[in-house]
């Protein structure tokens, strides 16, 4: 979604024409060319488009662009009116319902359209969410907070730390569950990060979002949000999860483990998949069906929320230059996660550089770009040589999860403990058994 620029965005000839005629955005104006007369409301200019076109909304609702070179006359007919927005009031929600916090990070959950300008504005207060998704009032007493407003591909590990801090705050405030609205691009990275930072979390924390924009009636946002709130309010599972559609239909929502989920399609509703395991639960209408037995967790909740950004994730490929590894070593990286081929292999011409990294005290872990299946480096000589150099095989941990975990490990533990931490199953990032049919 492109945000319409707050400024008019008009420059040069267009700006001159408009300001000479005393016209502002929203005014109802008349534009003449040699052949035609157009009547409509002046719209702001799109950020990326040519400034020499003036855009108006015709009385029939359509927008058009008029080449300012062709304009013979332009004049204001009526001043524009400011839209009067009346925020909705909070509905009556039963006090007995669980208290759930909804945090917004920038990915929209709900929005309103200003038809006059076409702007799509996020709607985030509790009142707005109840108004747009009235079903929520049957399940929970929600309170909302916007903690950041950035697209998820712009997020960095320090944002994971901020989010983790906020979740801790919400737990202290007595919330029985936390839902986090998040952009889908890096949602699985954040869910992995929180799974480690908030391991043994005493409440459910569910990340969710929307693949299809929230301005459209078909958006997956509402069902994702409702299902997340249902799961959180039932208090049957604690920990970090990710909730998105199970299929392209509005039938079921999958609740994925935060460390074994991946975005596997650019645009489909069911882009997110659990790899190597089934989703932890499925929500169908308002029933939550648990997939597998949830282990009861008696370990103390001791958040560790730091992340060290200086880790590289390298996807190996034919022609890969070992100079890249050298450059990473020189840049001060603390560790490397390799996405090798097959059972965990790379071209042996890179082994020297890998050895250099390990000899420099860097942790080097191996995952597979196959994504599915376990790494097993004793089977072929390529793998055995890497083991000898000191590369650590990371079983079936997803490459992205391994990257996040290594950042977390270096962020919270001394260097000599990193390897042990990486090999310990902290938050379900490793599976015990390779399940048939997965």
């Amino acid at each position: 979604m492109i945000k319409l620029s707050k400024l008019s965005g008009y420059k040069d000839k267009s700006l001159k024409l408009l300001s000479n005629a005393g016209i502002k955005i929203g005014d109802f104006i008349k534009i003449n060319t040699k052949t035609t007369e157009y009547l409509g409301n002046l719209l702001p200019r799109y950020e990326y488009s040519n400034e020499n076109y003036i855009v108006i909304k015709l009385t029939n609702g359509y927008n058009i662009g008029i080449d300012s070179k062709r304009i013979t006359n332009i004049g204001k007919i009526k001043s524009g009116e400011e839209p009067k927005f009346k925020p909705p009031s909070k509905p009556n929600v039963k006090d007995s319902l669980p208290k759930i916090a909804i945090l917004g990070t920038g990915g929209t959950i709900a929005s309103r359209i200003d038809y006059k300008t076409g702007a799509v504005n996020p709607a985030f207060s509790a009142e707005e969410l109840y108004s747009i998704i009235p079903e929520l009032a049957s399940y929970a007493n929600i309170n909302t907070q916007l903690i950041s407003n950035i697209a998820s591909e712009q997020m960095n590990p320090e944002d994971w730390k901020n989010i983790a801090n906020k979740v801790i705050e919400k737990i202290k405030e007595g919330n029985e569950g936390v839902i986090i609205g998040h952009g889908t691009d890096t949602m699985a990275y954040t869910s992995a990060a929180l799974s480690f930072a908030l391991a043994n979390c005493p409440i459910p924390v569910i990340l969710t979002g929307a693949q299809r924009s929230t301005d459209r009636p078909s958006s997956d946002a509402s069902l994702n949000m409702i299902s997340s709130v249902i799961v959180a309010s039932q208090k049957i599972i604690n920990g970090i999860y990710l909730a998105m559609h199970s299929s392209i239909g509005d039938n079921e929502i999958s609740i994925h483990s935060g460390t074994r989920v991946r975005k596997n399609h650019t645009s489909k509703r069911d882009a997110f998949e659990s790899i190597g395991i089934d989703p932890i639960a499925i929500v169908n209408q308002d029933k939550v069906i648990i997939g597998s037995e949830i282990a009861k967790n008696n370990t103390k909740f001791e958040p560790k929320i730091n992340f060290d950004e200086n880790i590289a994730l390298l996807k190996f490929h034919p022609g890969f230059k070992s100079e890249i590894i050298n450059a990473i070593i020189d840049s001060g990286s603390k560790g490397i996660i390799l996405e090798g081929t097959g059972l965990g292999h790379i071209n042996s011409r890179c082994n020297k550089s890998i050895k250099k990294a390990i000899d420099n005290g860097m942790f080097v872990g191996m995952t597979s770009q196959c994504l599915r299946g376990r790494v097993k480096m004793t089977v072929y000589s390529a793998g055995r040589n890497l083991l000898e150099i000191g590369v650590t095989p990371l079983e079936d941990m997803l490459p992205e999860t391994a990257l996040v975990k290594l950042m977390w490990a270096y962020g919270n533990y001394p260097n000599n403990e990193v390897k042990n931490i990486m090999l310990k199953n902290i938050a379900g990032e490793y599976t015990e058994r390779s399940i048939l049919g997965r």
């Binding site: 979604m1 492109i2 052949t35 035609t36 157009y38 799109y46 990326y48 488009s49 040519n50 076109y53 855009v55 909304k57 015709l58 009385t59 029939n60 609702g61 359509y62 927008n63 058009i64 662009g65 008029i66 080449d67 062709r70 839209p83 009067k84 927005f85 009346k86 925020p87 909705p88 309103r112 359209i113 200003d114 038809y115 006059k116 076409g118 799509v120 504005n121 709607a123 108004s131 747009i132 299809r212 301005d215 459209r216 009636p217 078909s218 958006s219 509402s222 069902l223 299929s247 392209i248 239909g249 509005d250 039938n251 650019t266 645009s267 489909k268 509703r269």
Partner: protein, 625 residues
């Protein structure tokens, strides 16, 4: 039958499918179903505007809370139609066709086109909106001596096809979704009987001169905007047959006139907006011992009987000076949307087992006076409040006069209420697609290759190609026009023959329930080529088409089989000689007049295998001996 005080005006809006090779925003072709289908379900939710309001049409639809079922053939639909992927670039081919038609109407293309999202929440678009873009404004259509201004020309996506509609769910097929449509909106003109059809026909033919528009049932649709007072415009959507137009317009004229009369009478009786009250009451108890079968059934099934007071509406609900225009009919249609069978109203009672006594009790219950009426609604308790509200609202609208509505045409030339007219300008930009400049180069290129006019093309068929009058018009109007023009260039067969097969023969087959849409243009071309070579007899055309469409046989297989069965000259001579020998006596008796008998006998054996002309030539040749 015009109303003297008001001027009946009619604005025509035509939606025509284009026959571009792909859909408007992806690379699918909507016409080539393969039978490999997937199904999925969606729930569409109304979007709210900045003002916190929801579009009235959208709210109406959402209150009916439907589940949408979608069926998609994977050959005709992709992730874009399923709303699982952003739209691809707009079809340049469709844009060029739209610009061509714009120039034919002397319309001025817009400098930069902006694709918009127009809210549609009845499920016929998977996204909940229709992508539409205005291409040109202005221009005119000339119909004999009349010049009708063109208001606008837009390019938009066609909607999914409804397969079934129930109270709580609808099923749509996505094959048609996103096929490009051109929408041409003409300015309203004073109604003259028979003229609207001419206007629609002329516009249709103008579009067909391009050879780039789809033909067949459902490929063109007329919407008609009818207004008798210029203020309140009723949109009648989806008139498929031109010959219905006058009937529908006339019906609307009468219906709207009736509504204005009701408004006048209500005003005379003292009802205004600020004193209008349509109270309701539960009257189930009044019918405890009723003779009315319908109400008995409702009560047994735990339903309710509700009454709605219609203040000062005596004789206005059933008032019908022209068949079908009574208010009661529209109110009945309205409650059907909420799952109720219909209504009873005071103007038609006592009847249906409801007695005068029961009527009096009802009147007492709601304190009705002599000029008041009432409406009875019976059924399930669940939706009844929404249904009651909509009836009350409709009664209130009678004070104002003619509510803005969208209606559908019926087979017998009437119209039915469909939904409230959508709120104005529920459109916002389709931001996934960047606005497109229409360059001067592009405009020049299109202007250079504008097609000839309808008259010029018909004359060309008649004078230069040798088609007769009937076939000229038939082939021009048919979906095989472009194929025909290609074939007559490449294949040496009489034009009349080719045209007749593509029109009369195929139409005949489709009348006999053969699905001729299964035949592709390539297959037709192959068949004609083989006829040209003499492999297939002319008379076999119909049989082969039938075979391919009914039995799914491959055209190549059929041709090969015919090749192997093809009789050579020796075989033909042998068969005909045998016949001549067998009929020797008749030949001796009748001489040359025995020809027809011989021909009949020969064709019995040879029809479909040998061209008739070859048989007759052979008979004549052998007879000489």
């Amino acid at each position: 039958m015009e109303n003297d005080k008001n001027e009946l005006k009619v604005g025509l809006e035509i939606h025509q499918q284009l026959s571009s090779s792909t859909k408007l925003f992806c690379k699918c072709n909507g016409f080539h179903e393969q039978g490999n289908e997937i199904y999925f379900k969606r729930i569409l939710r109304p979007t709210q505007s900045e003002l916190g309001e929801t579009d009235p049409a959208a709210l109406f639809e959402s209150k009916k809370s439907k589940l949408m079922n979608y069926k998609a053939d994977i050959n005709t639909s992709c992730l874009v139609e399923a709303d699982e992927e952003p739209p691809r670039e707009i079809s340049e081919e469709a844009l060029d066709i739209a610009l061509t038609i714009s120039y034919l109407l002397k319309s001025e293309p817009v400098d930069e086109i902006h694709i918009m999202r127009k809210l549609v929440i009845d499920g016929s678009n998977t996204t909940g909106f229709q992508r539409t873009v205005i291409i040109a404004t202005g221009g005119e259509l000339q119909v004999n001596n009349l010049r009708i201004p063109v208001l606008s020309i837009s390019l938009e996506e066609d909607a999914a096809r409804i397969i079934s509609k129930n109270i709580d769910q609808s099923t749509y097929s996505l094959d048609r979704l996103s096929i490009p449509l051109i929408e041409i909106t003409l300015a309203p003109v004073k109604f003259k009987k028979g003229e609207t059809e001419k206007i629609a026909l002329t516009l249709g033919r103008l579009m067909r001169t391009t050879g780039r528009v789809a033909r067949g049932i459902g490929t063109i649709r007329q919407d008609v905007n009818v207004s008798i007072d210029g203020d309140n415009i009723i949109e009648v959507k989806g008139v498929q047959q031109l010959d219905m137009l006058t009937n529908i317009i006339e019906f609307e004229n009468q219906r709207q006139t009736n509504l204005l009369k009701i408004k006048k009478i209500l005003s005379e009786r003292g009802i205004k907006e600020n004193n209008f009250k349509a109270e309701t009451a539960d009257i189930s108890d009044i019918f405890n011992n009723t003779d009315c079968k319908l109400i008995k059934k409702v009560l047994i099934n735990n339903g309710k009987v509700m009454v709605i007071k219609a203040p000062k509406f005596r004789e206005l609900i059933g008032k019908e000076e022209y068949e079908g225009t009574r208010l009661g009919r529209d109110i009945s249609t309205l409650v059907k949307f909420f799952g109720y069978g219909g209504i009873f109203h005071s103007d038609e009672l006592p009847d249906y087992g409801i007695t005068k006594d029961e009527m009096n009790k009802i009147s007492t219950r709601i304190k009705n006076e002599s000029n008041d009426g009432f409406i009875i609604l019976t059924g399930d308790k669940d939706n009844i409040d929404i249904a009651i509200k909509s009836v009350q609202n409709r009664l209130r609208q009678c004070i104002i006069g003619i509510p803005a509505e969208t209606r559908t045409p019926t087979k017998d030339g009437k119209t039915n209420y469909m939904r409230p007219r959508p709120g104005s300008a529920r459109m916002y930009p389709e931001t996934d697609i960047i606005p497109i400049k229409i360059t001067d180069d592009r405009k020049l290129k299109i202007k250079k290759i504008l097609p000839q006019t309808y008259e010029e093309q018909i004359n060309n068929y008649k004078n230069n190609i040798g088609l007769n009058d009937k076939l000229s018009i038939q082939i021009f109007d048919s979906k095989y026009k472009a194929l025909f023009e290609k074939l007559i260039k490449n294949i040496n067969l009489p034009a009349n023959f080719i045209a007749a097969q593509l029109t009369e023969t195929l139409i005949n087959l489709s009348r006999n329930n053969i699905n001729i849409n299964k035949i592709t243009n390539n297959e037709l071309e192959k068949i004609f080529k083989e006829i040209e070579k003499g492999i297939i007899a002319k008379e076999s055309f119909e049989k082969i088409i039938k075979d391919i469409c009914e039995n799914d046989n491959d055209v190549n297989d059929i041709i090969n089989e015919m090749k192997s069965n093809k009789l050579n000259e020796k075989d033909i001579e042998k068969i005909i000689s045998e016949i001549i020998n067998a009929k020797k006596e008749i030949i001796n008796e009748k001489g040359e007049n025995s020809f027809s008998i011989l021909m009949g006998e020969a064709m019995k054996q040879l029809r479909g295998k040998v061209d008739g002309k070859i048989v007759s030539d052979k008979i004549k040749e052998l007879l000489k001996d």
